[in-house]
Subunit: 690 residues, 2 copies
């Protein structure tokens, strides 16, 4: 029998490098196929982060060459800021060394694990050093160095360091700034849904400001795959600021550490300096609620008092944390990205307002495309992204998928057997979670861990795009029915009429009033085309009056109004009713007649606008259009006016500092807050469903 | 614009404690509901491991008390070996400090993370210290100490240490050896499928040698839930030995490190000492294939030569690694455990032979139960285990689930819409992966990462139990049909006969020959009952001859033969045909007659034997029994004789050391090895399916 002493004498400290070497599957190096994708991902994420932080439009090249056996050479190069000489070995050769670990803002990498994992995997499986060339703007030459890892000590081993002028492979010009990595590893290159190509393609969807290229060569040097994703916008993602933690997310243990290490002398300053969302008034309220004197020294606060503070954080009204730490992709770019990648008939996107979970701001964006070339067989395609990084593995275990599955898609027109799992049909759904702290289930960052608030936000976003889909399908089906009825009547009635006239030797009667009477409907048909030559979206809306009475309508259409986008040709004139909403008053429409509104919109690119929402004002129903909700329209106009006024005010007071007019909000336990209802939006006279 | 220098100056080493504090969801502390389960799991796993290593039959008590707010007090206590005073702070207060990290053998914990995570979570969320009482057998008193973690430095903070006689709470007696942990944390206690209760229940299924109890109390001290799982066997799991790595799983980088640190002077000794599965001949073959002199000094081997060695490892015939590093649960105990937990009609279990993946021995066990109280609605229940630890989260992302889903269950009698996902029906499947290196997707150890060889083994095991289910269902359905036919004929024929006899005023004819002619079948019905008073399994097998000719058969039945289990009453006598297979030669069976075999089996417990497989030898078909395959039976007998001879030989040569007669095997790339076919087994004249 082994005694407990013998047992414990073997206790030994394991270095973090040894830990990850043994558990390389935690980092995404579980199979040969996945390892190359993981390596590309870590390099590209770093490049995109570095470019974004230094406000450079990224140019990223990925080169993959198959070598003897199951070894692969990977080369990545960017035009980022480069890494200063003294930091290179730490970035590549040391786990858990990072600049962003404690910062609260949206970034792709955070933990100081990714690229070090690549160096480790390369050394472990191919016994290979990783070659790095780094050029920073202020140096005249680039640093060349080869790196490995001493896993027992978690530190880099360095060799062959030298300085040289770095000439670009393709252009031959000296490189101003950038980073090039070359490494060899055991891996298997494959095509298809889980491939480097797909990873980069998806990356380009959510990073439209990046230009990315891929070349893959076989052992004989022959190119076997390539990809070229040019940027579709010159606009860099919003610059994100670092924020302080919000009291709502603070654990007792963290508060105690902050108190212990505080240099402030008074509790009010302590609260104001260390947290976001705490005004002077809020600080006083918190201290009063916790029964702590404002003048107390933070370091002297006792455990029970800290516990009282944590309770007070949940009771006192606090400002929401600032959300300039987040960088959403935004509706239009999502639509653009999706339609670049997927050929579909209908697209609906939504960027929700930022929310807070455990003190971490986050924001959900969802896009849904339907029809077109998408396969109607099998489950819909799910594209998952976290902080602009595609997630390609562990779909089933990911919160983003679970929230999608929690929606009853049958209500929104997709097949959803048993209401479980991924719905079926010719659709694809994109989900993007932007957060200062994406909680993944593991270091490989492929699946988001459970979180009730994030789940609920995604679900609500899904309901919104789902409703768009439902309306689209409903409109289509109504129109199809009306058209079928119309065609039927137009064929059969004259037929009957002719036969019976012949039989009775009478003249054929005028059928128009009869047809109108049978149809007894007004219907509206819109068409949206893209003129590739003139770079114009061409829209026509036709209203048919198949009723027995004359009709009068105002027709309204949603269009993607923004800077640089405008309505060009528009013979009927009309007027702006609200931002993105144009209205035309039609002349009286007689029974059996129709009229057409025709207009063009310039300043868009293909795919940015794929569906016209048509509304009407007038009596009765118009099949294919939605009656406008005047009350909501009024509210919208007010909000707009308010926003404009606020903008003006903000510009005036900008020099006065960051005085926030945001309403203070009090957030009780979010689990108990009723969140079942979706706020109705202007263009949606949504009714309770069966 | 932030320059690259500014950016990189913020680089900072993060301690592993800080890393896990920020990423506590990696450790299973993502929601309040899950956190308490994770904490119980870590404590119980440690207790079971420590008891197993020191060969103690474990007695584990778990006590949960709800406190004010969302805080919970957790107390766990075991009768394990205890932890020596000087090691306590390292075990509880330091991440990545472990005794088993480098050892190759099957254990529950390995990484030195689990229980330290509990101490960290308790400190973070409740600001609470963890109280530990440890008593080792050789000390006269127990150590009392309170522990926290200094996360910046990854080390324990210790207070209030003292020595005292530890008296057991329940008995009041001094505790001889054991460990007691008390901690407070933010958590939410819940019941149901994902609960502490369910976790302990599942743990008891695969650890039948452990006695486990649970008490949960509300804030007012009232007991709201309890559980008591007594051990069902006194047999401790097989003692596992530590083995050396097998060359098949060695990466180039690891080999290079071993070479660098080698103290051997010759390459042959290096290979023999550092690896398992390498005989002297194999060592010579490897060196010859790699072009390396046997006498070379390991430390002088160059990188290219090491690469050649790695290639040679795959080419040269090597012994399989020893599998005494594994401890499977074994068929009988799985069946016992399953039938203790689930009331079902049919159970089929399989323990596959150990296999090797990347040099790591592993073994798959699967159990399937069907019918009884199991719900026919919805997907079947999947019980996942790795190294005797229940996996309760991330079911969708787990290799064990994926392998189950890869089987076409429709062929085996379960509903499986679209052949995707979890099949439906009144069944539950248990999967156990025993391995020296279970590769989880994260530190929380809830899902197994992808691995082709493990996947294939599970799939094959599923096919085997699936075939059992299919035969069971087929037999049931055949019998049901025959019985229906029989009943119908027995009702209708006499009816017709009577009517027509009356009509014709004739005497009724003897119908027996007619009925026999119409039925024209022999059928066999067995019944298995459990006599709870006498602790006997009671089995009867009845054969009916509904054909026109006299019949003669030998009937054979499978029974769970092993030490201590024997056939008691058995009026017909018969003889043993092979291990676990008894045969009775029946007297000639005349048309229209039947005969019954009746026997009892003692030495079993309820649920251990739930299904009798019946075979026959003779002409024609017997509905409800399977014709025995004489060729396979012969082979089985030979194997048995061989095994007996080997056992004798082994006992003779035991003193001569560990001379292995195992055949050397050469394992090519397993991915290319055809593994589609399942070996037919004796009791299975399995045919190609539609």
């Amino acid at each position: 029998m082994e005694t407990s002493e013998q047992f414990s004498n073997k206790q030994k400290q394991i270095s973090i490098s040894e830990f990850f070497e043994k558990n390389k599957h935690f980092l995404g190096f579980d199979t040969l196929q996945r390892s190359i994708i993981t390596a590309v991902k870590e390099a590209v994420d770093n490049s995109l982060d570095a470019c974004e932080e230094t406000r450079i439009l990224p140019e990223i090249r990925v080169e993959i060459n198959r070598l003897k056996g199951d070894r692969i050479e990977l080369i990545t190069q960017d035009n980022g800021p480069g890494i200063p000489r003294n930091d290179i070995e730490n970035v590549f050769g040391k786990f858990l060394l990072g600049s962003r670990f404690h910062a609260i803002r949206q970034t792709r990498g955070q933990q100081g694990i990714g690229i070090t994992g690549v160096v480790m995997y390369s050394q472990l499986t191919a016994g290979s050093k990783t070659q790095v060339i780094s050029k920073i703007g202020s140096d005249s030459s680039a640093v060349y160095v080869e790196l490995g890892i001493d896993t027992r000590k978690n530190r880099a081993t360095k060799s062959g360091e030298r300085r040289e002028i770095w000439l670009d492979d393709l252009t031959g010009d000296p490189v101003l700034h950038g980073l090039r990595i070359r490494t060899v590893m055991r891996a298997k290159y494959q095509r298809g849904r889980q491939s480097v190509h797909q990873y980069l393609r998806m990356t380009s969807i959510v990073n439209p400001h990046a230009s990315i290229s891929l070349v893959v060569r076989d052992r004989n040097g022959e190119m076997i795959e390539e990809g070229n994703w040019a940027r579709t916008t010159e606009k860099l993602p919003r610059e994100v600021s670092e924020i302080k933690p919000h009291p709502h997310g603070i654990h007792l243990g963290s508060l105690q550490r902050l108190l212990r290490e505080a240099e402030e002398r008074k509790m009010t300053s302590f609260l104001r300096h260390n947290f976001s969302g705490v005004s002077m008034r809020a600080a006083r309220d918190i201290l009063a609620a916790a029964g702590i004197d404002e003048g107390r020294t933070p370091r002297r606060i006792r455990a029970e008092e800290a516990q009282e503070m944590v309770s007070a954080f949940q009771k006192v009204k606090l400002l929401a944390p600032p959300t300039d730490c987040l960088s959403p992709i935004e509706d239009l770019l999502i639509k653009k990205g999706l339609s670049k990648a997927i050929d579909s008939r209908f697209a609906s996107t939504i960027t929700r307002n930022p929310k807070v979970s455990n003190g971490n701001p986050f924001q959900i964006e969802v896009g849904l495309v339907f029809g077109g070339n998408l396969s109607a067989e099998g489950p819909i395609e799910v594209l998952r992204f976290a902080n602009r990084v595609p997630l390609m593995y562990q779909q089933g275990g990911c919160l983003l998928t679970k929230a999608l599955e929690a929606v009853d898609w049958k209500r929104y027109g997709l097949e959803h057997p048993g209401g479980r799992g991924i719905p079926k049909g010719p659709a694809a759904v994109l989900v993007h979670l932007a957060s200062t702290n994406v909680q993944f289930t593991s270091e490989a960052k492929e699946a988001v861990a459970d979180n009730e608030e994030v789940f609920e936000e995604i679900r609500l976003a899904m309901l919104e795009v789902g409703r768009g889909l439902k309306n689209h399908l409903k409109k289509n089906s109504q129109r199809k029915k009306a058209r079928e009825k119309f065609e039927l009547i137009n064929i059969i009635l004259p037929e009957i009429s002719r036969k019976s006239s012949q039989l009775l030797s009478r003249e054929e009667p005028d059928l128009a009033p009869v047809i109108t009477k049978i149809m007894d409907a007004v219907f509206c048909e819109e068409e949206l085309d893209w003129d590739d030559e003139r770079k114009l979206a061409i829209c026509s809306i036709t209203v048919y009056n198949y009723t027995a009475r004359a009709r009068a309508y105002t027709i309204l259409a949603k269009w993607p109004e923004e800077d640089g986008v405008r309505i060009d040709e528009n013979a009927l004139g009309g007027r702006k009713e609200a931002k993105g909403l144009w209205a035309w008053r039609l002349d009286t429409l007689n029974p059996g007649s129709s009229t057409t509104i025709f207009f063009t919109v310039s300043g868009l690119t293909k795919g940015e606008w794929s569906e016209v929402d048509v509304f009407y004002r007038g009596n009765g129903e118009v099949i294919g259009a939605t009656k406008i909700d005047e009350k909501l329209l009024d509210e919208l106009r007010k909000t707009e006016a308010l926003a404009a006024a606020e903008l003006e005010l903000e510009q005036q007071t900008e020099t006065m500092g960051h005085l926030s007019d945001r309403a203070e909000h009090n957030s009780p336990d979010p689990a108990t807050e009723p969140t079942e209802q979706v706020q109705p939006t202007l263009f949606d006279n949504y009714e309770a469903e069966e």
